[in-house]
């Protein structure tokens, strides 16, 4: 069964323990940050910040709501990055993590073309721009903890308010529905249930998702499915078009006069 995490935005207090534990478990360097007006520095994912908490101030009538959203790789059920990778360097493991293929012999399949970065609808994969031979970096769903120790991701462990809950995706979906049904203040939507074919990380909120920086009203069809709708025609076009061309060439050749091409062209004499 595939794992997932339920993020309950109503419970997040922006303590950023998840950011710290992510850095310490994955041995990521700390970098100096700068002040930002809404206090969410660094504010966006990059190659050494695999998870960030973004802050959002929402005005609803005379009410001011401050909401915090933990962001990281959504670990799509049908990941666009995996399908876009032309060496199949990314894989979706059966546990649900989308990571570089964890082969023991050679992890180094990545060419550094960055098509995964174009493909990802959530803008997650980040590049190590300052390195000579950069990798694409992103949240790994703590695959090492999950796989070897049966542990939950570091960020979930460190969350003091149970804003993050780790478990089987199906069970989390049921729980998300239960919470939404019991409490009318929730928005009646589970973000990640259907977006782009569904994601392993799912979100519930009391504020409309489009006000929290989520791209809403997006396709429910996965991106790999779109691509495949086009790519599946390749063999047919290759052989079909090839056959048509061969037939046309043979047909018209009989009518055409024969030229001796060697007498027709000459090097330019520009002396």
């Amino acid at each position: 069964m595939s794992k997932g995490v339920l993020v309950d935005i109503t419970r997040c207090i922006a303590c950023r323990s998840c950011m710290v534990s992510c850095k310490s478990w994955n041995d990521l360097p700390s970098n100096p940050s700068t002040f930002s007006n809404n206090w969410d520095s660094p504010g966006k994912i990059d190659s050494t910040n695999w998870t960030v908490v973004t802050n959002h101030i929402i005005e609803e009538g005379d009410q001011l709501k401050w909401r915090f959203v933990k962001r990281q790789c959504m670990h799509c059920l049908e990941p666009a990055c995996e399908s876009a990778c032309f060496t199949h360097a990314f894989v979706k493991t059966k546990e649900g993590a989308v990571i570089y293929k964890p082969t023991e012999v050679d992890q180094d399949y990545c060419v550094g073309c960055r098509y995964c970065m174009i493909a990802c609808p959530f803008g997650v994969p980040s590049f190590e721009w300052d390195k000579t031979f950069p990798f694409v970096q992103k949240c790994r769903f703590c695959y090492d903890r999950m796989k070897e120790e049966g542990m939950e991701p570091a960020c979930v462990t460190s969350c003091p308010t149970q804003a993050l809950k780790y478990g089987e995706r199906e069970e989390l979906l049921a729980e998300a529905r239960a919470r939404i049904d019991q409490n009318p203040s929730y928005v009646k939507h589970i973000y990640g249930e259907k977006e782009y074919g569904g994601t392993s990380w799912i979100y519930i909120s009391d504020v409309p998702f489009d006000k929290l920086g989520f791209r809403t009203n997006v396709s429910e069809k996965s991106i790999p499915a779109y691509t495949w709708d086009v790519l599946k025609w390749t063999p047919l076009i290759f052989f079909g078009w090839g056959a048509i061309l061969t037939a046309m060439r043979a047909y018209t050749k009989r009518r055409a006069e024969v030229h001796n091409e060697e007498d027709m062209y000459a090097p330019v004499d520009d002396e």
Binding site: C110, C113, I118, W129, A266, V268
Partner: protein, 390 residues
């Protein structure tokens, strides 16, 4: 300059300038390979692809479209009156692909891994198809060119082998570019919900391959005129004029399909919503599609060199404009951030296109590429101004 008795390369001040550009680009490229992409480019997580992919690769390949459209017209349909331009089109296309391969190699972060896709098949990726087709097609073009090469460098057995292979090579030489010209468009299908709806469409592969094809004759016209001026030859006006029929019909179909697609997807009105994207789209469609269509269909414009040349330049610029719109204009809103190439990205680009010009000159001066021309004084020098001495 002569090397041996059979090889020559004339050195002019203009060519020295181009050589300097190439040397600067080579030095910058070396620096990039040692210190990485961040050191020389302005690329970022928001803009993972920039000038080298957007312009050198996408436009380079599109502009090389003259190779496969001419091959189809001349070698499959056997329209022999176009034979005089066939080899020049092949040559430009071959050099265009080499440039595209070089810029791809420059752009990939882990360049020593460039061979991986040959052995690790991510067949569900559009880029996989693009990579394979471009690699194979470049090989095919090198072999096709080998046939010309061995006319000069005599080697009967090799020439014979290539001669026997020519039919399958020619067919592959049309099928492969048809596939990857369209796939370059399909690359952006993944950008659903992000690429502006005026450009994002499930038909984008069709628009890309179709425009690369009708671009071919226009490109042949532009480069043919340039070559004619540079070498003080008579431009092949009758060929240019007659090729406009191909471009005209295909562009009208392009325009119709574009409109039908917009209406079908219910986004036709977005073209007039006054946003930056809609304005760029309108410029693309009006200046670079509708205007050339009108110019091509008016007899008194089409039959003049300036007319056919101006319209063709618009078509060529229009395809570049379209690709830039897809890569930059259409994605800007969704990607956020901003991107403008560094001086090094520009210098490397300029160097690569300078290399293209030099390579073209060297090959046409040493190999039988352009049709033989009877030595006589003709009016081209007078009618079209003094030729630029390339």
């Amino acid at each position: 300059m002569r090397f041996g008795k059979n090889w020559k390369f004339k050195i002019t001040p203009f060519r020295i300038l181009l050589i300097i550009f190439v040397l600067i680009a080579a030095a910058a490229a070396l620096y990039r390979f040692v210190y990485g992409l961040g050191a020389v480019t302005n690329l970022s997580d928001e803009w993972p692809w920039g000038l080298w992919i957007g312009f050198d690769l996408l436009c380079g390949i599109a502009l090389a479209g003259g190779g496969f459209s001419t091959a189809l017209i001349v070698h499959v349909l056997h329209k022999d009156k176009y034979l005089p331009i066939a080899r020049a089109a092949l040559l430009t296309s071959l050099i265009g692909y080499i440039i595209a391969m070089v810029s791809l190699f420059l752009d990939i972060g882990r360049w020593f891994n460039f061979w991986r896709p040959f052995f690790y098949w991510g067949y569900h990726s559009v880029l996989f198809e693009v990579f394979w087709c471009i690699s194979l097609y470049t090989t095919v073009q090198v072999l096709e060119f080998g046939d010309i090469f061995f006319e000069k460098v005599k080697c009967a057995p090799l020439k014979k082998i290539l001669g026997a292979l020519m039919t399958p090579l020619l067919i592959l030489g049309i099928v492969l570019p048809s596939l990857h010209q369209s796939s370059l468009g399909s690359l952006y299908i993944v950008a659903v919900d992000r690429l502006y709806p005026l450009w994002w469409s499930m038909l984008i592969p069709f628009f890309f391959v179709w425009s690369a094809f009708f671009l071919g004759p226009a490109m042949v016209t532009v480069e043919g005129t340039l070559a004619a001026r540079a070498y003080k030859r008579e431009p092949e006006m009758h060929i240019f004029e007659s090729l406009t029929k191909v471009t005209l019909v295909m562009m009208i179909i392009y325009l119709i399909v574009k409109i039908v697609d917009l209406v079908y997807r219910g986004v036709f009105s977005m073209a007039f919503n006054g946003s930056f994207e809609s304005n760029m789209f309108l410029i693309e469609m009006i200046v670079f599609v509708i205007v050339p269509i009108i110019m091509y269909s008016i007899n008194s414009i089409r039959t003049k060199l300036w007319g056919v040349l101006t319209a063709s330049i618009l078509v060529v610029a229009g395809v570049i404009f379209n690709r830039m719109n897809v890569v930059f204009t259409g994605m800007a809103d969704a990607m956020g951030g901003h991107y403008f190439p560094t001086i090094w990205e520009w210098l490397i680009t300029i160097g690569m296109w300078s290399a293209l010009v030099l390579l073209y000159c060297f090959v046409v001066e040493n190999f039988p590429i352009l049709p033989k021309e009877e030595k006589h004084t003709h009016g081209s020098g007078v009618a079209y101004g003094k030729g630029i001495h390339a």
